[in-house]
Amino acid sequence: MNEPSTVTPSTVTPSTVTPSTAVPDRAVRHRAGSGRPPWDLSVGAIAVAALFALPGGYVLWRALTGGALHLLVERRALEPLWRTIQLAFLVSASAALTGTALAWLTVRTDLPLRRFWRVVAPLPLVYPSFVGAAAFRSGLTPGGIVHDLVGHLGIDLQFRLQGLVGAWLVLTLFTYPYVYLPVAARLSALPSSLEENARLLGDRPLQVFRRVVLPQASSSIAAGALLVFLYTVSDFGAVHLMRFETLTQTIYRTRLFDQGRSFALALLLLGLALVVVAAERTVARHGARTEALGDRSSLRIPLGRWKAPAIATCSLVVGLALFAPAVSLADWGLFGWFRQRRGLAELRLDWGDVAGATWSTVWVSTVTAVVAIAVVLPVAYLLARHRSRLGGIVNGVVVAGFAIPGLVVAISLIFWTLHASPFEFLIGTMPVLVFAYVVHFGALAVRTAQVAVSSVPRQMNDAARLLGAGRLRRFFTVDLPIMAPGLAAGAGLVMLSTMKELPATLLVSPIGFRTLVVRIWDTYEALYLAEMAILSLVLVAISALLTWFLVVRRADHLA
């Protein structure tokens, strides 16, 4: 009855989720009447905002008081910025093109095996970009599957994927789903009557695409591309592996011996990310939208002689983004045992170590998810149930938390715990790590939580009140059971992102606390590639399972 089906597949990304606004007229009218939020809710929301503002605020303060802002106009500082922007533009453009093409092919045309393509197209999301980069690079090094296959032909492959080209290719392959998902959702929600009308008014199919479909999808494409931009700007692992020094690399490199520069650059990165998020929100909010009512059967455009190139395109993208990394990793993992002489190092696999890292990953991401939901719930209530300026401000702060790159959050928290005198006891403890995650991924939870709260009809709550139930009883007997599936989806998103997060985990984890990403990082740096491959496959398997539940099944509902 009240299934929170309003969560679209675009929930992978916080800012493309539009909370259900399908409240009947009278509910809207009475919402204003619900008046000021109760004081405890306001206080809770303000506390949450303060927590979320802490890392960014600390960076700002350190950058302004560090006396290193003048470094920002130096050539040395501008070079990484230029490289960052260059890469981000390239990746956004190619991801937008790839994502849109795949979405259009799988949703609007008679491409063979459409259901299969629709299931696999978003799946590259299961690879953290640095794992993907590691898979590509290790596949090309001696001992890797490509290197060895070519070696059988008598060629010693010298090509190493790196630099701008490497970073661009890898990031495109693993971020295009951020465009694919919203565009596919948009296209399948587009009523076929629009296109049919355009045809009846005299447009040829290609004109229809240009004049009707593209304008309708453009805001989704732009929003997705901006998210890719944000992802690229914040990326730490993939560019590190590709030896391409973007801002995150410089910040990381200078954090110990040149803190002033590190914080000044962090502020620069923060500003860039905030601009991108602001742009994304503006784009997502605008754009005329027509939703199909009832009839969702969309027009299928016959591909005709373009069928073969279309299949080739899909195969190439999915093959490179989904299967190639898996094959490369599996090759290292499986055959590492048997061919110890092959690699640069022997396989030194300790299954207890793998199990321990897996357990740490699952444990910390579960705790983070639960904490994140609990923390953002007051905000979600404020947004969904009360119309107040406070709600908008708090929401802005929480969303900004998502914009702050994980590396910046990590650096900020590390130095904050080091320098803020009453909080030294927090240095290198679990709560700081969870805090970093929650600040970084809280926005994912706040969106879904808001959808969940508004999925509880107001009348349901009113009915419970009139039957004598106080606030607590209403929350536990009415709200929570109805919100549960929605909140679970939000928690799942946070879990998924947490287990893939590299820089925050790497920098903030307590000593000796090693999750899968930390172990993957260490083993790659030590060139224990077989072990790295096995750890990566475990991580990918877990996140694939979660993604399946969260994204693919929901995307399927839409189709």
Binding site: M1, N2, R26, R29, H30, A32, G33, G35, P457, Q459, M460, D462, A463, A464, R465, L466, L467, G468, A469, G470, T477, V478, P481, I482
Partner: protein, 347 residues
């Protein structure tokens, strides 16, 4: 449905006095006063946006009025510095879509409002029995039909023996045939229980059928309160006259004694000073032999028909006639007045 007497709790009367509600802007309700006798069934009728739902929610305590008092029995629940929260008002309410808790079965839904010690003493079955749904106690709300859901919602509201029952357009989500059936069943039950009931509707027929009295709201003010016949026969003003039923209005400069209209002399039952409109209901007119108009349109309803006649020296009028193939579009006919007197409505 079987009536079970409401024991110790006699129905409470309700009084609303000078109630005003404004959401940061224009008033939604302005100085509204309304009394409801114990056991009475009052319909709040008005077009959408007139404030009737706001009034209902204010009575329930779900809205905080800016001014005015509301009392249930002799207890003030809103106003004079007190505001009893809805959960302590002993007011039952049935919402438009039932608002049943989707995760609880019918029994738990009905038991929700009962104190813990009363949930197992048979009151749930008693309440379900009243609405004739004892056999669905273990089903989930989602598996019930719309009519059943609405009856469960009624049972849930009645189970804690409220002093006053509020219904917010309880039939509007049901399809036409079901609506009539559920309406008749609820009507019988409410009359048998003798519970004080206020219900909101925008459907004039529903208000007339169910209400002992009908309160017509217009733009946040009470336009008229009275029995259905009062409203129909003696509307307070032109707006009520046209909102409640079909109306033919004839301009009359001095509505005292009799007035000459395009359909002949009409005795004025209730006059007033100055120019006014005379209200002639479609059944006050008859179509017969004669030659003062042309039939424009015939609407056939089965039990009767509505004939639109364009008068030669006047406006187009609606005439209710017996059903039958007697009239056709384009026929020349004579329209005459057959009523027993008209009400003059001030301009």
């Amino acid at each position: 449905m079987r009536a079970v007497p409401v024991d110790d709790n006699a129905p409470a009367g309700l009084r609303v006095k000078d109630l005003s509600v404004a959401y940061d802007g224009p008033h939604v309700l302005t100085d509204l006063s309304l009394g409801v006798a114990p056991g009475e069934l009052v319909a709040l009728l008005g077009p959408s946006g007139c404030g009737k739902t706001t009034l209902l929610r204010s009575i329930a305590g779900l809205e905080r009025p800016d001014r005015g008092t509301i009392s249930v029995g002799n207890r003030i629940v809103t106003g004079n510095g007190t505001f009893v929260p809805p959960e302590r008002r002993r007011i039952g309410m049935v919402f438009q879509d039932g608002a049943l808790f989707p995760h609880l079965d019918v029994r738990r839904n009905v038991a929700y409002g009962l104190p813990r010690d009363q949930r197992r003493n048979g009151r749930v079955d008693e309440a379900l029995d009243m609405v004739g749904l004892a056999d669905v106690a273990d089903r989930m709300p989602g598996t019930l039909s719309g009519g059943q859901q609405q009856r469960v919602a009624l049972a849930r509201a009645l189970a804690p023996r409220p002093g006053v029952l509020l219904l917010d357009e309880p039939f509007s989500n049901l399809d036409a045939t079901l609506r009539l059936q559920v309406r008749a069943e609820m009507h019988r039950l409410l009359v048998d229980l003798g519970i004080t009931t206020i219900f909101v509707t925008h459907d004039q027929e529903e208000a007339f059928v169910l209400g002992d009295r009908v309160a017509v709201l217009h733009d946040g003010r009470l336009a008229q309160v009275g029995t259905p016949d009062d409203l129909y026969r003696r509307p307070a003003d032109r707006w009520v006259a046209t909102f409640v039923g079909d109306a033919n209005l004839f301009r009359c400069s001095r509505p005292i004694g009799t007035c000459l209209t395009p359909v002949g002399e009409v005795p004025v039952l209730v006059g007033c000073d100055g120019p006014a409109d005379l209200l002639l209901r479609p059944e006050d007119l008859a179509v017969g032999e004669g030659d003062n108009g042309t039939i424009e349109l015939v609407e056939y309803y089965g039990h009767d028909a509505m004939v639109h006649v364009l008068l030669d020296d006047g406006p187009s009028v609606k005439v209710r006639t017996e059903a039958g193939p007697a009239h056709r579009r384009g026929d020349r006919v004579g329209v005459t007045y057959v009523g027993s007197g008209a009400v003059a409505l001030k301009l």
